[in-house]
Symmetry: C2
Subunit: 456 residues, 2 copies
């Protein structure tokens, strides 16, 4: 019997996160205050985030200790397994070895709890009683509800109304963990009331939900805000994935030639690849590939520029790859990848040529997901299917070239709450979306007078 | 950091199943042909099952090799984790240690693939091209579709029509793995057509679906039938759970004082407890507890008697604890526990006083499930909540008595496809069911003239 799973014991869980900031060859640009265009300081962020997280946002330390209270919870399902996809390799007839790190073993079903647990921990430590956030498809809201439940903090989730109506089971999952879920736009905030006054039938958007959550947090002394991706501290927390994967690949006795993840806000892709990017900075030959939807091609068709992190324009200006905050991506099923921007760290990694990016259409991703499900058993989240598409393409290239190659990708979550997407795919009711250059140009024109992202 | 997970490596996976038949002190009674009332022979079963499984059904060997082709697949997610429920212990304030073996890590989300994989393997080996089965809530149909997919065998699943309509995502899961799902009653069998002629609006029942699947298999040379519980070979395959758990408890350095599982057909309960029952036969002191729904109290209010395995009366007569095959359990959410009978092996284990049984109401089980989800994170399947209720009760008893006690229970699956049940529970829309003695008496009267289950 062939060994296909590479497990670590509880005692092998990483004790520190890896912070790339001190290692990035060309450094990083600061976020800017939208009014003053000056770098944002800790005080600007204090109404929304606890100081423990703000410090991590700008820390110059390469290694940051993971608090024991956080490890005590993560260890209930971490280290997550690294699995060799032997059946997929065989089906593809490739000489490549394909490994995947599987984050669907968390109770919420994705990598998101890796950051929701420490985020709530630091909030709790500073006396925060309540955390407000937004959720679209529901992955992040679930992860935050789970974490709040563990630490006895109240979770308030503004869920995009159309998702609230169409994905009741994600809502119930949050409520099972004690989270309070409100369809957005709601009557509970000025932002929500304004939208409803204009359009009582609004089904909401992530931009509106962010506005409501931020307003909620900013207007209540007992409440902070939490974000599930994009920010430096969020990406930091996800590095536990890659640190585990490195140990596991070592046990498997192979160095990855290619490391692949899907890119929405960038946190899962970065979580897996960060330690391998560090290797690359230090001279290793490793191909780092971010896979994004062709219908929201932030890395492949966006600009590196200052832009708002949200759709409404309430956040600091972030230096990032962006399509423009007014860009409205088509309604693909990979809801977690429908983001106009990209984490500033990932954007810098691309700009500094430490990674490359590929864009895939929806149907070719679901074809890859189906192949994976039938070979390996696990039904992937639609987001993760982009990484699978990337990995399969690499494996087929290796076959063409007759090259042995070691491919590592991140399966960021399972698709148990996305079966309606599979239903549509199996019934041939799934579409690809032509993204006209005109729409890309329109959204870019709306921000091109924002500060340029050049040396400050 | 406390160790809470006890993992085994791929190479530690059990290589043999444990067969209790040669160890049962008072032996076992044979199934009877309903017409002749004589013991059923291999030839009677051959139209429905491959010989490899029929041999296992009556094997006198204590240890039966697991084929390498089966291990190669099971090892993708097995050995499954054994986890100490430290947060639950703390919440209960109990001196007891609570361990759970978690079967939700399989792609289908439950223990069912432990038997669907070998069942399809033995069918494939004997040239079977197609397997027909029934499914109610969908757990078994999912597991069979998964296994058929791996071995390239066609899966035909008759799914109770009301479930087909209310649980579309379970259906999509089966289809994702290539299974063909037909709402039952259907126009594809005589049994289905007969029901539809009488009642075109019939929403089906498990009994009808079994009839359709058995007729399908019996009438086609290329097709066999597969059952997800009850039969000896099914229970045999599930012993891999307990064999792993024994190794893991040894690593944890504790012997269980109590071993607990939920009981529907009996296979998951038996899978965990079999090796501990063997210990008990050999003199060990261990309390083995089966937990069943009070609304379908086969072990606690049924009789040990010969009865049909299905509701319609097509199977051999099985010697088992039964409420009578015409008993119609109320519509509790734990669909997998709504079975009028109990596996003959488990029934014998109870009759020979090697285990005891407890019955719980639906609401107290969901309360236990919610407590578990909020402490440990994982959202349990409604079926598994009965084992959790049993474990929590034992832990509270240990607290009252001030006793350190080691409790082991089986978390047979996750509840990702049962969130509507949690929705009802959280909204206080879940009911308990009074089961009138009159209904129990009626169903018992209908079978009491069947052969008595005494020495043959």
């Amino acid at each position: 019997m062939q060994q296909i799973k590479y497990l670590l014991n509880d005692s092998d869980i990483p004790r520190q996160w890896y912070n790339i900031l001190p290692d990035l060859p060309a450094g990083m640009l600061p976020p800017l205050h939208p009014a003053t265009k000056q770098p944002v300081g800790p005080d600007d962020l204090a109404p929304l985030f606890p100081m423990g997280l703000i410090e991590q946002e700008v820390s110059p330390q390469r290694w940051i200790d993971i608090p024991p209270e956080v490890l005590d919870i993560l260890v209930r399902w971490r280290p997550s397994p690294l699995i060799r996809a032997v059946a997929l390799e065989k089906a593809l007839g490739t000489p490549a070895k394909i490994f995947y790190k599987y984050e669907g073993v968390s109770p919420a079903g994705s990598h998101k709890p890796n950051t929701s647990i420490p985020q709530v921990y630091y909030n709790k430590k500073e006396g925060v009683k309540r955390i407000a956030t937004e959720t679209g498809a529901g992955q992040w809201g679930s992860a935050l509800s789970l974490a709040c439940n563990f630490f006895g903090v109240e979770a308030k989730v503004y869920m995009v109304k159309i998702s609230y109506q169409q994905k009741p089971y994600r809502r119930v999952m949050m409520e099972t963990w004690g989270g309070s879920v409100t369809p957005s736009p709601s009557n509970e905030t000025n932002a929500g009331r304004k939208i409803l006054a204009e359009n009582p039938n609004s089904t909401g958007s992530l931009g509106i939900a962010i506005s409501e959550a931020v307003e909620d947090a900013a207007s209540r002394a007992d409440t902070k805000y939490a974000l599930g991706s994009v920010l430096n501290h969020v990406l930091l927390h996800q590095t536990i994935i890659g640190l585990e994967a490195k140990k596991q690949m070592k046990i498997a006795g192979v160095d990855p030639d290619v490391v692949i993840g899907c890119c929405g806000g960038g946190s899962n892709f970065y979580g897996l690849s960060a330690p391998f990017i560090q290797d690359k900075i230090n001279g290793a030959k490793v191909d780092i590939v971010g896979c994004e939807p062709a219908s929201c091609p932030t890395l492949t068709r966006g600009h590196f520029h200052y832009d708002f992190g949200d759709s409404v324009g309430m956040t600091p200006l972030l230096p990032m790859h962006t399509l423009g905050h007014t860009f409205m991506p088509p309604s693909i099923h990979a809801g977690g990848l429908r983001y106009h921007g990209m984490a500033p760290i990932v954007s810098e990694v691309l700009r500094q040529k430490l990674m490359r990016a590929e864009a895939f259409n929806q149907i070719e991703c679901f074809q890859a997901a189906l192949t994976f499900a039938r070979c390996e058993g696990i039904i992937p989240a639609p987001e993760s299917s982009h990484a699978i598409r990337g990995a399969i393409n690499e494996a087929l290239k290796a076959k063409e070239e007759g090259k042995e190659k070691n491919i590592l990708f991140l399966l960021s979550g399972h698709g148990h709450f996305d079966m309606s997407a599979y239903e549509a795919f199996l019934a041939n009711n799934l579409g690809d979306f032509e993204l006209p250059q005109g729409e890309i140009d329109r959204a870019w024109n709306a921000i091109k007078d924002f500060p340029e992202a050049k040396e400050f």
